[in-house]
């Protein structure tokens, strides 16, 4: 007996069917394992592997002399592996220990270290001592558990932390790097890529419980350390600048103050400092506005310092000559509007004198004479309206009134530094071109890039942008600016022994929304030294000082100190001979002339470049004013009395001089010499006086002076 054939057929059918199923399965295996295999393998790989970033060592930022300004130091950061913590079953003890050492809340620590994550930071950048303690912390043996020789699941990793050894010095330029060592502000930001290097990775294979797999695959790609940066900044000059800024803050309590020093021949920034500043080591303790580098990122209407640009263009174009005569009647009429001068009237003056006086009508006239095409050509030539291209983040372009909208009145106000807004750096860069034989240089802040071994990777060479004005014009501008310091409004910037040139500026601040403030000013000074072979140009900007606000008062003294100390530091030899220095301003000591023959006394005075004013008909000097030993400036008047006034006799008289336009310092000096008293009302400069100039008054009389805050370069808003 055997199985019926029909059944056999059906069994065969089933065998066929089953085999078919298994063939389909094999086909599926081919698809999953061979066709899609690699793709699936990669996906599984991505799930299993976690990349642990190994930060490259961030490069150091050095000053031009190789002094470190920003360095990376290694600190310990602690993290927890919650899976491991929990496995020890002693979470509370661990949290307690960690909290104790790091001075944290035990409950919060416990919560952190038992999170459902593979990795949790506990605290980053832990100080050395605490880190050591935590690394060597142990758990004691208990009834349940044996002692451990470390805290289970608590691990440390070396993390670099940025350290700024000089604190606030250059802070706004350097910027800072954040907690993850990423450049956030300043040089740290703009050169982040170069400084940060390329991170390496450790790829670690994890199981699904968040534990590293024993003898797992680990791939290590080593980091490529960042390169170091050598700035053009010189720490010593920067220190001088910071010192002066502190001085300005102390004396004038301005809202902001900033100073830039540049090497005109190369465009290299030697120092750049500002207030408010911050300590990049603790940047979070400061308001965000303090982090800003406003010298690069903010614009202002520069006022009279901008007259250097007007002057350069006009001289270069030949529309004006130093000896051209101008008349200042206190204002100039432009298109039916009055542009006023800061002084009631400068009278007749040469262009040279006009610059010395910072006379608005002179510059307005010159500006109008240039015309808008010429004017704009030089504006653009000097780089206004365009970023200078310095390697600092957040540079502003400045605001130029568009040329097709420019009318005469605009041209007039632009000529005296209003209407257009520029960054302090733009202004200084343009000025540097005047000091560099007319060649505009691209301002630079970084000099060299070196790798970590110190091998030179890149040198940033000085870069000429264009020739803006001719060499001759530039020289002319320099000598005019020298006379501003020696004769004109910039006297307070005078530096003994060096030939210094410069221009003051006092601009009214623009009120947001339009118009000019009548209480807030920006006093500034733009200068160069030495004039014949410029080594440095410098801009000092003081925004909204309290009390005095003229550029000559708040900015020029700082400039003077910076120039003096910087040139000394740069070992620039003094140019003016010692005897000449002794003869110079403020340095003539009056000898005793009493009992000398009048003619002899006059001779002595004239030798010392002083003027004599003889009162009385005697032949011998009975008395002198100022008294012997007083230091006076060159050209001062010395009053010689040939007869001592007898009691009851007609008192001696003096001619009242013209005080208008003078400030208190100047008035005091003059009045003292004339033996007069004065009484002041108001503040600013003298606008009116009583008695009038030219009148004879007895010695010792009181002059009433009415002062107004119509001063120096301050401009009144243009009337309707």
């Amino acid at each position: 007996m055997s199985v019926p054939i029909k059944i056999k057929k059906r069994v065969a059918g089933i065998l066929f069917f089953m085999t078919l199923l298994l063939i389909v399965l094999a086909g599926r295996l081919v698809w999953v394992q061979l066709v899609k295999g690699e793709e699936l393998r990669q996906k599984a790989f991505a799930v299993r592997f976690r990349n642990v970033e190994v930060k490259a060592k961030r490069g150091t930022i050095y000053d031009a002399q190789g002094k470190p300004l920003a360095i990376s130091i290694s600190t310990d950061s602690f993290y927890a592996n919650p899976a491991e913590v929990k496995r020890s079953k002693r979470e509370k003890e661990i949290a307690q220990k960690v909290a104790e050492i790091l001075e944290l809340e035990p409950d919060k620590v416990l919560q952190q270290i038992t999170k459902e994550q593979a990795f949790v930071w506990i605290k980053r950048h832990v100080p050395e001592e605490k880190a050591q303690k935590l690394k060597t912390a142990k758990l004691p043996a208990t009834a349940e558990f044996t002692a451990t020789n470390s805290l289970p699941g608590i691990k440390s990793v070396e993390e670099p932390e940025r350290f700024y050894p000089k604190g606030q010095l250059l802070a706004n330029v350097l910027g800072f790097a954040g907690i993850d060592h990423q450049g956030l502000y300043g040089i740290e930001k703009s050169y982040d890529q170069i400084l940060s290097g390329i991170s390496g990775t450790i790829m670690v294979e994890y199981d699904n419980r968040g534990q590293e797999i024993p003898d797992a695959l680990q791939k290590y790609i080593p980091p490529h350390d960042g390169n170091s940066i050598f700035l053009t900044i010189d720490e010593t000059i920067q220190y001088i600048v910071e010192r002066e800024l502190d001085g300005i803050m102390q004396l004038h309590s301005p809202k902001k103050a900033g100073i830039v020093v540049m090497e005109p021949k190369t465009g290299r920034v030697l120092a750049m400092g500002m207030r408010p500043a911050f300590d990049p080591n603790n940047y979070n303790d400061f308001a965000q506005v303090n982090w800003k580098n406003f010298l690069v990122s903010d614009v202002y209407e520069p006022g009279s310092t901008f007259k250097t640009v007007t002057m350069s263009g006009a001289l270069d174009e030949g529309v004006v000559n130093v000896n051209d005569r101008f008349y200042c009647g206190g204002f100039v009429q432009v298109g039916g509007r009055k542009v006023r001068c800061w002084k009631a009237s400068h009278g007749s003056q040469s262009f040279m004198e006009g610059v010395q006086n910072s006379c608005n009508p002179v510059f307005v006239t010159v500006g109008l004479r240039s015309g808008k095409d010429v004017f704009y050509r030089y504006l653009h030539g000097f780089g206004f309206g365009k970023k200078t291209g310095i390697d600092l983040p957040g540079e502003a372009t400045g605001i130029l009134l568009s040329k097709d909208k420019v009318q005469e009145i605009h041209l007039a106000t632009m000529s005296i530094g209003q209407t257009n807004a520029v960054t302090p750096l733009q202004l200084l860069t343009a000025f540097a071109a005047m000091a560099n034989e007319g060649k505009l240089m691209k301002p630079q802040i970084v000099k060299e890039i070196r790798d970590k071994e110190g091998k030179l990777m890149r040198t940033i060479e000085p870069e000429v942008v264009r020739q803006v004005i001719s060499v001759e014009t530039a020289q002319q501008v320099m000598s005019i600016l020298e006379s501003v310091v020696s004769e004109g409004t910039g006297k307070t910037a005078y530096v003994e022994g060096y030939r210094v040139g410069g221009k003051t500026g006092t601009a009214q601040k623009i009120i947001p929304g339009g118009g000019y403030s009548t209480s807030e000013y920006i006093g500034s000074f733009l200068g160069v030294a030495p004039v014949n072979d410029p080594r440095m140009v410098c801009l000092v900007v003081v925004d909204s000082p309290e009390g005095m606000y003229y550029g000559s008062q708040v900015a020029a003294p700082a400039f003077r100190n910076i120039v003096r100390d910087t040139l000394r530091y740069l070992q620039v030899p003094a140019q003016i001979e010692p005897e000449k220095i002794a003869n110079n301003l403020h340095s003539i000591e009056l000898p005793s002339l009493v009992d000398l023959q009048v003619s002899e006394a006059v001779k002595i005075l004239s030798q010392k470049k002083l003027k004599a004013d003889i009162l009385g008909q005697g032949t011998k000097v009975k008395a002198q004013l100022p008294l012997a030993g007083t230091k006076v400036v060159e050209g001062s008047k010395v009053v010689l009395y040939t007869s001592v006034p007898a009691a009851g006799a007609e008192p001696e008289t003096v001619v009242v001089p013209d005080f208008t336009g003078k400030n208190i310092v100047e008035v005091k000096e003059e009045v003292k010499m004339l033996n007069l008293n004065f009484d002041i009302q108001g503040s600013g400069v003298v606008s009116r006086q009583e008695p009038e100039p030219g009148q004879q008054v007895p010695l010792g009389s009181t002059i009433n002076l009415y002062l107004e805050t119509l001063s120096e370069d301050v401009l009144y808003p243009i009337g309707p």
Partner: protein
């Protein structure tokens, strides 16, 4: 009837032994990391113990002439049926009541039923004769019984085993000469029941979602399948090497039971995985071949039933692991960890080997 006893089918024997050895090795490889901290050899030891026991069971069944089992079949079936009821009184483990805990070992009654039902149906169908053509008087009672058994297993619940049992019964009925229209009625009503069962349970709906579109549900419904595919894909052609599976590191759930085939595919590659498919093909060929050469209907049906149970289950399991079928929750015969399954599969193989001794050797 007195037949001459021949040699057992060595193909079946060696195929089975090879699968068993692969299984033991893979159970150890797949499980040791999971139990690394307590006892990495835990599953290996238990599987070895069960393998030894199963091997003995196979030898015993090989010795007992299959036709001598006939008088006990009703009893065996009854016991298996009762155990299916008893298991329902146990506490559920992971949501289903599949095990009867005897303290030292746990028994899975559905595994007993798988073999018992084959024995039962083989006996009944070999005696049914022409009544197979009649729906109510012929196959009706068996279908009813089948429905009861399926219902009981679904109460555990265990859809996978129910499907294997239903599939095997269906194959046996077809082989026995089921009318084509009856087959269609059965097939459609079967599909309807399965559809209804799936829709009745959110868990099963999720499994279908995870099956249809695993990548959009990678973290939940599709998680297990995706990790299974990761394992297979990582294996590639030659595999990552024995013991080197990464998916077994807690990524793939059920890595030593229902999804052991994925770990096998990862460690031994396509070559290993295909070898397993090939071995089951071989098993099917030799198993069904017995049915063709068997001296009697009972033996023939028994061979068909046992072979079908094992091969069908293997296909369903591998189909699930490779993403051809939705997840059902059954192990891979001889290879997955699990005592009852191994014991009764091997007992089945023992019966097959015994049958083979009576088949005319070509």
């Amino acid at each position: 009837m007195r037949l001459k006893k021949g040699e057992p089918d060595l193909w079946i024997f060696f195929t089975t032994m090879l699968l068993l050895v692969i299984g033991i090795v893979m159970v150890f490889s797949a499980s040791y990391y999971d139990t690394l901290e307590n006892d990495p050899y835990f599953y290996l030891r238990k599987q070895l113990m069960w393998a030894a026991l199963s091997f003995v069971a196979m030898l015993v069944m090989m010795k007992i002439d299959y036709f001598r089992l006939k008088p006990y079949i009703n009893f065996i079936f009854a016991v298996a049926f009762i155990l299916l009821i008893v298991v329902l009184f146990y506490e559920p483990v992971q949501g289903s009541r599949r095990w009867i805990k005897l303290g030292f070992i746990n028994i899975q009654p559905s595994e007993i039923m798988k073999l018992s039902l084959v024995l039962f149906l083989a006996k009944k169908l070999s005696e049914i004769g022409a009544r197979i053509k009649h729906f109510f008087t012929g196959i009706g009672p068996y279908l009813l019984l089948l429905g009861l058994v399926g219902g009981l297993i679904m109460l555990e619940p265990d859809l996978g085993t129910t499907l294997v049992i239903a599939g095997t019964a269906c194959v046996l009925l077809i082989v026995a000469g089921l009318r084509l229209r009856h087959f269609f009625v059965l097939a459609f009503s079967g599909l309807a029941v399965v559809g209804a069962l799936i829709l009745a349970d959110l868990n099963r709906i999720n499994r279908i979602i995870g099956f249809l579109d695993p990548w959009s549900h990678a973290s939940k419904e599709g998680y297990q399948l995706i990790n299974s595919l990761y394992a297979l894909g990582s294996g590639g052609l030659f595999g990552m090497g024995l013991g080197n599976s990464r998916q077994k590191l807690d990524y793939l759930p059920e890595q030593n039971t229902d999804f052991i085939y994925a770990i096998l595919g990862e460690e031994l590659g396509f070559i290993g995985a295909f070898l397993v498919v090939l071995l089951f093909c071989l098993f099917a060929w030799r198993g069904y071949r017995l049915a063709l050469t068997c001296p009697d209907l009972f033996g023939s049906f028994l061979a068909v039933g046992i072979t079908t149970t094992i091969v069908l289950q293997a296909f369903i399991n591998m189909g699930v692991v490779t993403g051809l079928l939705p997840i059902t929750g059954i192990g891979l015969p001889f290879i997955s960890y699990g005592g009852s399954s191994l014991l009764f599969s091997m007992s089945g193989v023992g019966i097959l080997l015994n049958i083979s001794r009576y088949c005319s050797n070509p």
